[in-house]
C-alpha cells in the first residue's frame, strides 16, 4: 500500500518523503496569559481525531517546505477540506 501527501510546491509525493508535524492546534498561547494548564494543553494534549483533520507536514526529502493538508487518520488518505467540515 502506498500513501501520498501533496506538497504545494512538488505536488503529490510518497508520504515517506515527509515528516509529520502534528495536528493543527491553533496559535501558541501568548506569553501574558500563560498558565501551566494552557501551556500543557498546547504542548502536550492532542485530539487524535478519527476523521479528517488539518495537519502540519514538512517536505524533508524534497523542497523543505512546511505546510498544512487535510488528512483522515482512519484511512491515511488526504481529503478535501470541505469533506472535513461535513
Amino acid at each position: 500500500m502506498s500513501f501520498t501527501i501533496t506538497c504545494p510546491i512538488c505536488g503529490k509525493r510518497d508520504l515517506y518523503e515527509f515528516r509529520f508535524g502534528g495536528e493543527e492546534r491553533g496559535a501558541r498561547p501568548d506569553y501574558e496569559n500563560l498558565t501551566p494548564q494552557n501551556w500543557c494543553d498546547y504542548v502536550h494534549l492532542r485530539t487524535n481525531r478519527p476523521g479528517p483533520q488539518r495537519e502540519w507536514w514538512f517536505h524533508r526529502d524534497g523542497c523543505g517546505r512546511w505546510f498544512t493538508v487535510w488528512r483522515d487518520p482512519m484511512t491515511n488518505r488526504e481529503t478535501a477540506s470541505s469533506e472535513a467540515t461535513r
Binding site: M1, P36, C40, L45, N48, P73, N76
Partner: protein, 405 residues
C-alpha cells in the same frame, strides 16, 4: 491424555448494573478484571469489548518482556511484572510459554554506550540484573552477529539483561479471560462503549451498543482508542496514536538464543520456539487508526536484519501485520483515577511497553479501583505530571539507543 477442548470462558448474561465496568478487552482490561475479582472480592465486573478480546495490541504485539527501563519510577513496576510470569502460569493453570532467554540491546556509538551505562547503573541500583558488554562479548552471546567495521552502524557493545525474554501473547489473553470468567467476571464481546454518563462529578452509567449499564466505577483500558473513550468525558490526553508494524520469517533451525535489539538500526528480533524470526520496531510517525503494512518497512527491516545477522540473507518473510500504539511524550503510561471525575479511572498510554506490564499493572489498578486510593507504585503516572512538567524521561533511551520493544 487430552480431553476435548471446552470453552475457556463463559457466555454471560448482560446485566444492567455492575460494580465495575472495564472498557476494553485487552490485556490491561482483562488483568484488572481478574484481580478485582481475585484480590478484592469485587465480583460483579463487566469487561466490555467492541470487537473480540485480544483484538487490539494485545493480539498484535511481539511479546517481549523485560525490566531494564530507564527511570527509577518505571523500573520497579516492570521488575515486579517480570517476576510474576512463573507464578501467573501456575495460578492461571495455563502455559504462557515464558522464555527467559535474555535481551541484548546493541550500542553503535560512544554516546550510545554512555546512555546504556546509565541505564545499566539504574537497573543495578534497583536490583535488576543488567550488564554492559563489549563487542566481543556480544559476539560470544550471539555468534551470528556481525561485528565488523564495514556496516552502516558498527557495533560498539551492548546492554545485556538476562532475566527478560518473551511470553506467548495470545496465551496471556486466553488465560486471563479464563481466570476472570471462572471468578465470575462477565466478558461481553461485540459490545461497544459509546458514552459515559456523569452526574454531579461522578460516574453513574456507561452507554453501550447493547444498552445502558449502571455503575459507579469505570476503567478506560481501551489502549490505542483510549483517547476516544477519554473524549467521552471531555478529558484530553497527551497521546499520539501511531501505527507500528511487525513481521515473521519462515522457520529456521535454532540460531538466535536471545532477544536482540538496536536503536540505531531501528529493529529488534528474536527466534520463536517454532523457529520463526519475529522482528519489529517500525513505527510510522504520523497519527493513524489504520493498521496498514507498507513495502517501505519490509525493505527497511530486510536491510537492518541482514546487516546485523548476515545469515538471514535470502530468508523469506512469511507474514506482516500492523497495530497501533498510544504514545505519550515521556514513553510512560497514564494511570489515574477520580480526578476530576469520581469513579472514572484510566490505564492507557502504554505505547509499545504495554504487554510486559499488563499483569502487574492490572493487579495495582484493581487495588486502586477497589480502595479508591492510588497504590504508591502507580503514583508517578498521574495525568497531572504533564502540567507540572514532571515528565518521566523514558524517552531519552529508545529513539537512538534503546530496545524499541
Amino acid at each position: 491424555m487430552f480431553e476435548p477442548f471446552g470453552r475457556l470462558w463463559k457466555q454471560a448474561p448482560f446485566r444492567s448494573t455492575y460494580d465495575a465496568v472495564i472498557v476494553g478487552g485487552g490485556l490491561h482490561g482483562l488483568a484488572t478484571a481478574y484481580y478485582l475479582a481475585k484480590n478484592h472480592g469485587v465480583r460483579r465486573v463487566a469487561v466490555l469489548e467492541k470487537n473480540h478480546i485480544g483484538y487490539g495490541s494485545a493480539g498484535r504485539n511481539t511479546a517481549i518482556v523485560r525490566a531494564n527501563q530507564r527511570t527509577q519510577e518505571n523500573i520497579p513496576l516492570y521488575d515486579e511484572g517480570l517476576k510474576m510470569w512463573p507464578q501467573l502460569m501456575d495460578e492461571l493453570d495455563f502455559n504462557l510459554m515464558f522464555f527467559n532467554c535474555g535481551n541484548l540491546n546493541l550500542a553503535h556509538s560512544e554516546a550510545a554506550m554512555g546512555a546504556l551505562r546509565l541505564q545499566v547503573a539504574s537497573a543495578q541500583y534497583l536490583g535488576v540484573r543488567s550488564e554492559l558488554l563489549d563487542r566481543k562479548q556480544c559476539k560470544e552471546l550471539i555468534p551470528h552477529l556481525n561485528i565488523s567495521e564495514d556496516i552502516t552502524y558498527p557495533v560498539f557493545g551492548g546492554m545485556y539483561h538476562p532475566p527478560g525474554g518473551t511470553v506467548r501473547h495470545d496465551a496471556l489473553v486466553w488465560a486471563l479471560a479464563k481466570g476472570a470468567s471462572a471468578l465470575g467476571v462477565h466478558i461481553h464481546q461485540q459490545t461497544e462503549v459509546t458514552g459515559i454518563a456523569v452526574h454531579r462529578g461522578r460516574v453513574t452509567a456507561v452507554e453501550t451498543s447493547r444498552g445502558t449499564i449502571h455503575t459507579l466505577r469505570v476503567l478506560n483500558a481501551a489502549g490505542p482508542w483510549s483517547v476516544l473513550v477519554s473524549a467521552m468525558v471531555d478529558i484530553r490526553l497527551p497521546i499520539h496514536v501511531l501505527p507500528i508494524q511487525a513481521m515473521v520469517t519462515e522457520p529456521l533451525k535454532p540460531f538466535l538464543h536471545h532477544v536482540i535489539s538496536s536503536g540505531a538500526y531501528h529493529c529488534y528480533a528474536n527466534q520463536s520456539l517454532k523457529g520463526e524470526v519475529v522482528t519489529g520496531a517500525h513505527m510510522d510517525p504520523w497519527i493513524s487508526y489504520g493498521t496498514h503494512v507498507t513495502a517501505h518497512y519490509i525493505k527497511h527491516q530486510a536491510e537492518a536484519l541482514t546487516e546485523l545477522l548476515p545469515c538471514l540473507r535470502g530468508v523469506k518473510f512469511m507474514r506482516i501485520w500492523g497495530g497501533l500504539a498510544d504514545m505519550t511524550p515521556d514513553m510512560a503510561p497514564i494511570i489515574d483515577g477520580n480526578d476530576p471525575i469520581e469513579g472514572y479511572y484510566m490505564d492507557c498510554g502504554w505505547g509499545y511497553f504495554g504487554f510486559k506490564s499488563a499483569a502487574v499493572t492490572g493487579k495495582y489498578v484493581a487495588e486502586y479501583m477497589a480502595t479508591g486510593r492510588c497504590p504508591k507504585i502507580l503514583q508517578p503516572f498521574r495525568l497531572k505530571r504533564y502540567e507540572e512538567n514532571r515528565l518521566l524521561g523514558e524517552t531519552a533511551s529508545p529513539p537512538q539507543y534503546g530496545p524499541w520493544n
